[in-house]
Subunit: 393 residues, 2 copies
Amino acid sequence: MINFVFYAPTKVIFGKDTESQAGAEIKALGYKKALIHYGGASAMKSGLIDRVVASLDAAGIAHVGLGGVKPNPRLALVREGIALAKREKVDFLLAVGGGSVIDSAKAIAYGITNDGDVWDLYLAKKKAVACAPVGCVLTIAAAGSETSNSSVITNDDGGHKRSYNDDIARPKFAIMNPELTFTLPEYQTMSGAVDILMHTLERYFTNDKQVELIDRMSESLMLTVIENAPKLLKNPRDYDARAEIMWAGSLSHNGLTGTGRTGDFASHQLEHELSGMFDVAHGAGLSAVWGSWARYVYKHDIARFAQFAVRVMGVEMNYFNPEETALRGIEKIENFFRSIKMPVSISELGVKDLTEKQLDEMVEKCSWNGARQIGQFVKLDRTDMRKIYQMAK
Amino acid sequence: MINFVFYAPTKVIFGKDTESQAGAEIKALGYKKALIHYGGASAMKSGLIDRVVASLDAAGIAHVGLGGVKPNPRLALVREGIALAKREKVDFLLAVGGGSVIDSAKAIAYGITNDGDVWDLYLAKKKAVACAPVGCVLTIAAAGSETSNSSVITNDDGGHKRSYNDDIARPKFAIMNPELTFTLPEYQTMSGAVDILMHTLERYFTNDKQVELIDRMSESLMLTVIENAPKLLKNPRDYDARAEIMWAGSLSHNGLTGTGRTGDFASHQLEHELSGMFDVAHGAGLSAVWGSWARYVYKHDIARFAQFAVRVMGVEMNYFNPEETALRGIEKIENFFRSIKMPVSISELGVKDLTEKQLDEMVEKCSWNGARQIGQFVKLDRTDMRKIYQMAK
């Protein structure tokens, strides 16, 4: 087992009606004025923002609001938030929404505590020296940003999507009420389920020596999502299924499944260019490329893919032909994606007739014009990336 | 799934040579003077204390030492530590040892930040208002105190063993180098493995509705311990097996396996009286009573015991007779205990010829003279406790 640091200090407050605790939590932490950051009209219409505001008022926490965060959150709004937060002397960022809103709040939190342009962090030009405190009321089970150290922002100028990861941005608290996800559109629910699965899968395929405990815990997370997501197709108001998936979402991306091993994350990098350019849902983009990635790399470690097939996808082990077992595992997870109405190709994702020029552009962006390889399980260069995108068309 | 709060803020620094980071971690947290708390001569002889001291010196952290913590740590030494820490104006408690040392350090940390007698906390007479910061260098995988909120202390005066749990006592950091456990006596290693298993088992048997994710994660933890403990009988210097068990120890008791459900902990309460009176190893005490507890209560939820038997102990499900499956699971874990040389009865634990008077005394202590019941899966009163002790003789 390789050495590791695991630090997930977020206080998780999980369950029904917990959003009413937001104000008291901020007060207990000693902060005075919050920027309430949120997305579109649904949080307003549902009355959620009103309830959160009431909770802050009751605790004597001053606040200003900034809505308008879109999926694949934009740098321009982050800059607006930084200016607003500075002007209003905000000392706490309260994100009310999903991963995009939380990521945007983290970016604002970096922006008000670090000199210079916040985008430089995402371009890996420098490191943050501090981060203002962030808390969140989660409304979508997907990104895991509610307990993770990561923030992904898209630069409006050219569609570059970049992430910045630092433990100082981990939220102080995450309020998670599964009921808040009852009214999510089905496509977003299922895209979230795929994202959660992928955060675990990306860490499961690794070159590091197997860690039995973390393998088994990863398999637990994947089995739970595969068991519960289909229940939500039938009944989107199934509290326990929502709760299982929501908690799995945090535990898939708080670092636990990466302890004692290094993750791969090639599929995430490949997808970032897709959603950066075509603004597709992140989870759907992941299911569109994962199978192609897997078929491109599986020969590197057939035993590992076979373990996944047997323990997670319920494939019977073919001891005389482990490769067949490995391939059946990939096929079965693609069937699972189809069963929850998620795409398994870029065209099913809605990006039809991908041109050679667009392919080139994605490869150039993903490889930083050839300056980086992606992946750890198998290192992928420009040529590999192009082949995988081609396979996934 | 019931509402829950999960808060495990300890920074885990895991792997080879990590003890050299102790000083830098304390410095990064802004503290100046540490009380280094430890147990017997082995930490001195092995050179571990010297290495930790060197790390503090290198970081400019002043320090005083207090050794002598025994298994089932005593209140008298805690009081001595409180006086020393106050006299020396210590602002950080560094525990170098296993659960007993960490629990003792937490008690000292409570003592220097709360007025009145620290034992009142353990007697549930009052609540702590604060706790001085604690960090640890772990040398035994067992109690999980390195990331937990719990501290168990034995009052020398009459052998009362009591616990106090509060999130404010969770260590700031836990340095976990599996190599430090290479030289543990076999009995202590195996007793630790049982303790780890039990922390998960105690939360697995619950009346709350099943949480699939947490069930599966709990099963992962148990399977990992059952797989790896026997490897250490053959080769106590097996790094990966030590690492799997050490990390399982923290994850079994940091609260994760209790999320969304209430634990039982009756076996722990029954055992506390055994180790309080006879000073036996905690894990060994647990394996001595668990089977009797299980046989006394299993009819309350045969399906749950059957799930345990099938998923953890590898028993084949007897669909026509689930009770037989449930009982075979209990039998198999007792066989596992025997295979790692752990007792499955109080006499095998070394407490021979338990008298009626001693039994009465344990029951009176455990039931607080009849003032409390123990357990959640099945609530147990004096009569139940006596019967279980009797079955376990």
